[in-house]
Symmetry: C2
Subunit: 103 residues, 2 copies
DNA sequence: AAACTAATTAGCATTATTGCTAAATAGAAG
DNA sequence: CTTCTATTTAGCAATAATGCTAATTAGTTT
């Protein structure tokens, strides 16, 4: 559980999670979407996987990653608990879903 | 805004935020509550302050820190946005407020 | 089996984080 | 103005995180 916060600390990993909200993606397709080498992406995947935020599934020659909603939900809940914020308040403060964050 | 996630990554800093939910505390009182040196605590305070999660107020000889709810709320909202989780779902997944986390 | 593709692991360098002790600052009190 | 208290800043060492290229693994295809 503690690893979750660490996993969320890197902007690239947060962007990966955002991409996976729309559905599973292969490691290769994800890697193409970011300006770092494939091995570097692979390491970020491992970090997210160890935190339980994503899950890997081997499909033929390809590895498909998908968001693990149950762990992600737990993480969001834990964060709100740390801050003792009522869910409705946080929802109101959330930026529009399409917002881009500079890294 | 990006610093917020980094600030939340360290377990000690999350515990500091939890303590501040009950109201403002002085740097010294906070420092006594954790098994690290005062200069180390001071650095953690600086990290939280740079992230905007806490605010400092000098009261006589003492510095009082308090949770900055508006930034904290924004952070919680941003996290939920990354994960695209509906607030109610996250609320249900939140652990009991008194839960202790091992560092 | 040889070659090709997708992805990971190994090994290395660079930078960031953490935590310590010692020293500095700032204000309060004598 | 000296001293005391609260807190921070400086400087250092150890550890962790990031990102690269080169090499490896595993599965497909010819």
């Amino acid at each position: 559980m503690a690893d979750v916060f660490q996993a969320l600390a890197h902007p690239l990993r947060r962007e990966v999670l955002k991409k996976l909200r729309n559905g599973p993606m292969t490691a290769g397709d994800l890697a193409e979407a970011f300006p770092v080498s494939k091995p570097t992406m692979s390491r970020h995947f491992a970090t997210l996987k160890e935190a339980g935020l994503i899950e890997a599934e081997k499909v033929g020659t390809v590895i498909r990653y998908r968001l693990n909603l149950s762990v992600a939900e737990e993480a969001a809940g834990a964060i709100m608990d740390v801050l003792k914020i009522h869910p409705d308040t946080a929802a109101k403060a959330a930026p529009p879903s399409g917002a881009v964050e500079k890294s």
